[in-house]
């Protein structure tokens, strides 16, 4: 028992170590001017995609429930925090405002995780997956129809159009339907992103190795048996789902404070985007937190590094995706790799065991 604990602790430390070393290397390259602008611009997106991949892995790998609407939580985090930052941009100094923005984004994402978790977690398998997809689309669609303005008389709100707000001429339109929120302060940086990623890793890895985490995995592996041993199935499912949503919300805060135009469009928050995150999780290894981080970075970089191929870029990307999937998941290929490349310990085998 003691030995395995040590091994897990070591494993966790390696994960933090990889992140910290990657951070140090990139910072060093950036400071010494050896990093191209293109790479520099990719660093922040890489961190928030890694964060949401960790969040989704908690839901898919540890809790064992397939969610294809996780970007919905990211959307909630992004919009609530951007709204807050925009309103308080003049009245609060940057550091406390940004921290408060995180608190707000995470809190709202967690709240929605709770509200959505109530119906979703009663379902199973593909039915559950389709309902998460549905909620992701609902969030996106509703935010697209949101109009919120602030003027001397207070906050105005409409679900139809900006004209209905009936604002004073001095009013400021903050959320403008499909045009979303523009001009959110650009506060996210690589350092902040790495801190959030480390915190997310800390939360998830500790959860996995805690009593609660073992209960969650027991529910995943066999919920009837778990229930029979006295585990409160609903409570643990809900707990994992809310934490997962909250971390996705944190990714959203980073996202909205990195680009100045925030729109609730399919490119960022639709089911396609959610599936993209799922790709990171599956390629990194289901239940393998470190794998998610690495896979998120690699797969986010891949289409960017393929820019040289111009119009063939996405075609090549899709082929690489298929080949990578077969290489890392096909039973026959795994067997062949075992024979030729020696006995390698695959984490997904370990996880499922």
């Amino acid at each position: 028992m003691k030995l395995t604990m040590n091994k897990k602790t070591k494993d966790n430390l390696i994960t933090y170590g990889i992140v910290v070393v990657a951070f140090a290397v990139f910072q060093l390259l950036a400071v010494t001017g050896n990093l191209s602008s293109h790479m520099k611009g990719l660093l922040v997106p890489m961190t928030y995609y890694a964060v949401i991949a960790v969040a989704l892995n908690l839901c898919v790998g540890i809790l064992g429930e397939l969610s294809i609407g996780h970007c919905g939580f990211m959307c909630i985090g992004a919009f609530t925090s951007a709204f807050f930052s925009k309103v308080t941009e003049e009245s609060l100094p940057t550091a406390p405002r940004f921290i408060l923005a995180f608190v707000i984004g995470i809190a709202f994402a967690a709240l929605f995780g709770f509200l959505i978790g109530i119906p979703v977690l009663r379902l199973k398998g593909d039915y559950l997956a389709i309902v998460t997809l549905a909620f992701g689309e609902i969030i996106k669609n509703v935010i697209n129809a949101f109009y919120i303005g602030v003027d001397s008389k207070g906050v105005h709100f409409s679900l139809k159009n900006a004209m209905e707000l009936g604002m004073e001429p001095d009013g400021q339109l903050i959320v403008n339907g499909a045009m979303g929120i523009t001009g959110t302060p650009h506060n996210s940086s690589f350092t902040v992103g790495i801190i959030v990623l480390l915190l997310a890793l800390f939360v998830v890895q500790n959860l996995v190795n805690s009593r609660d985490g073992r209960a969650i995995m027991a529910v995943r592996d066999n919920y009837i048996a778990a229930e029979a041993t006295g585990i409160n199935v609903t409570r643990y499912k809900m707990m994992a789902f809310i934490i997962s949503a909250a971390i996705a919300g944190a990714a959203g805060v980073l996202f909205s404070h990195n680009i100045t135009t925030l729109t609730a469009s399919s490119q960022y928050f639709g089911y396609n985007a959610s599936i993209m995150i799922l790709v990171y999780v599956v390629l990194g290894g289901i239940g393998n937190i470190r794998g998610s981080v690495i896979a998120a970075c690699i797969l986010y970089l891949l289409p960017e590094l393929l820019r040289g191929f111009n119009t063939y870029r996405m075609l090549i990307y899709s082929i690489v995706l298929i080949v990578m999937m077969i290489y890392s998941w096909s039973p026959k290929v795994l067997e062949w790799r075992k024979r030729t490349l020696g006995n390698i310990n695959f984490p997904w085998k370990k996880q499922r065991a």
């Binding site: 602008s37 159009n161 499909a178 680009i259 100045t260 469009s265 490119q267 590094l305």
Partner: protein, 385 residues
């Protein structure tokens, strides 16, 4: 996983090294060519617009090079894909910056343009967006645009309908998930208050729900709208026209520049578009030499008839040429110096191109040109006046 990540990280590391080296290689300034970059969605649902912009800019660059370049210097040109994603648009911008771009033609779409303008402002790079029409696209002093702004189009449409007594009851069908469409819709509705027509229905659709328009059309019909305003792109409009025809509903359809391109949709029954009016700066079948030459060359090279996105981008490159010539800009100047020179030039020059005979710019980045109203007759644009 270990092996997998090892293999892949090795591959990544080498690719990254290559990309970084590429970045370094491009830094070598003092070259004697101009470097112009363009950004647009080259893949994904909006690829038609991005490809039009990037192709037409390429065509203009080739023409200028063949005619001796700008101030005697040749131009190098590069396009990058942003997938209609503001974040990817910034990545595309950074890639172009590493390549050594000095002037940006882009981005194609509004949200992407706004996001990129944040970076061009920080780098003080001159940005001329051919088709980013949202107000905020040109909020910085280094950003200018070729097309009309959304508010401008909404207001002009409302005025035109009112001035020409086109209708008493107006229905609107707009795309509530699109920045361009909802922007025009908002301004149009604001401007319509107090005009001699009444808005009787305003129905939305989204990009996830853009195949069936029967409800939107039926509502306009039931409300007795004799004119339907379509502040949308031609892709969706072609379906709306087809479905209105099936329903037997024939109001006047009135569109804005996004509707241009509808006549050139492959296999489209142009008789459905008979009588459609639109405010557009460009018509592919205009008979002036410039347009005829452009359309012929574009069609030969890319196999498609250019739309107004292409025309805007083509003009953008020539506008940059004109501005550079006005201030005698040379490629060995720094990005920031070029930007300052062009900023000054933009408010002084008067350019003529495909989209207007006389274009001038205010320092706020807005072009000064009047939209032309055209009506479709026998499958061709005819001036409405």
């Amino acid at each position: 996983m270990k092996k997998f990540s090892k293999v892949v990280s090795l591959a990544m590391a080498s690719m990254m090294a290559v990309s970084m080296l590429a970045g370094c290689g491009a830094q070598g300034s003092g070259s004697n060519t101009f470097k112009i970059g363009a950004i647009g969605p080259l893949t994904g649902g909006a690829a038609a617009y991005g490809l039009a912009v990037c192709n037409a800019a390429e065509l203009a660059v080739e023409e200028i090079n063949a005619a001796g370049g700008i101030n005697g210097y040749q131009i190098e040109y590069k396009k990058e894909d942003d997938e209609l994603n503001a974040e990817k648009s910034v990545n595309a911008y950074n890639t172009l910056k590493d390549w050594g771009m000095q002037v940006l033609v882009g981005s194609t779409t509004s949200a992407c343009s706004i996001a990129v303008s944040e970076n061009t402002k920080a780098d003080n790079m001159f940005q001329l967006t051919p088709s980013g029409s949202a107000e905020d696209c040109v909020k910085y002093d280094n950003a200018f645009r070729v097309c009309f702004s959304d508010p401008n189009q909404g207001i002009a449409s409302a005025q035109y309908i009112s001035d020409n007594n086109l209708a008493t009851k107006v229905g609107i069908i707009y795309d509530s998930s699109d920045v361009y469409s909802s922007g025009i819709y908002q301004k149009f509705t604001e401007e319509a208050a107090g005009k001699n027509f009444e808005i009787v229905s305003a129905e939305a659709f989204t990009q996830d729900n853009n195949t069936d328009f029967s409800v939107q059309l039926q509502k306009a019909k039931d409300a007795g709208a004799d004119l339907v305003f379509l502040p949308i792109y031609y892709k969706d409009a072609s379906l709306i026209l087809t479905q209105a025809n099936t329903m037997g509903y024939a109001p006047t359809f009135f569109g804005v520049d996004g509707l241009d391109g509808i006549l050139t949709v492959e296999n489209f029954d142009v008789s459905l578009a008979e009588g459609v009016m639109l405010l557009t700066p460009f018509a592919a079948d205009a008979k002036d030499d410039l347009t005829v030459n452009f359309v012929a060359k574009y069609q030969e090279k890319y196999g498609e008839i250019p739309n107004q996105f292409a025309a805007d981008a083509y003009d953008a490159v020539y506008i940059i040429k004109k501005a550079m010539e006005a201030k005698n800009v040379t490629p060995d100047m720094s990005v920031s110096d070029i930007c300052e020179a062009l900023k000054g030039a933009m408010t002084e020059i008067e350019a003529s191109g495909l989209t207007s005979a006389k274009m001038t710019w205010a320092a706020n980045g807005e072009p000064n040109k009047e939209p032309k109203a055209v009506v479709i007759k026998n499958g061709a644009y005819v001036s409405a006046q």
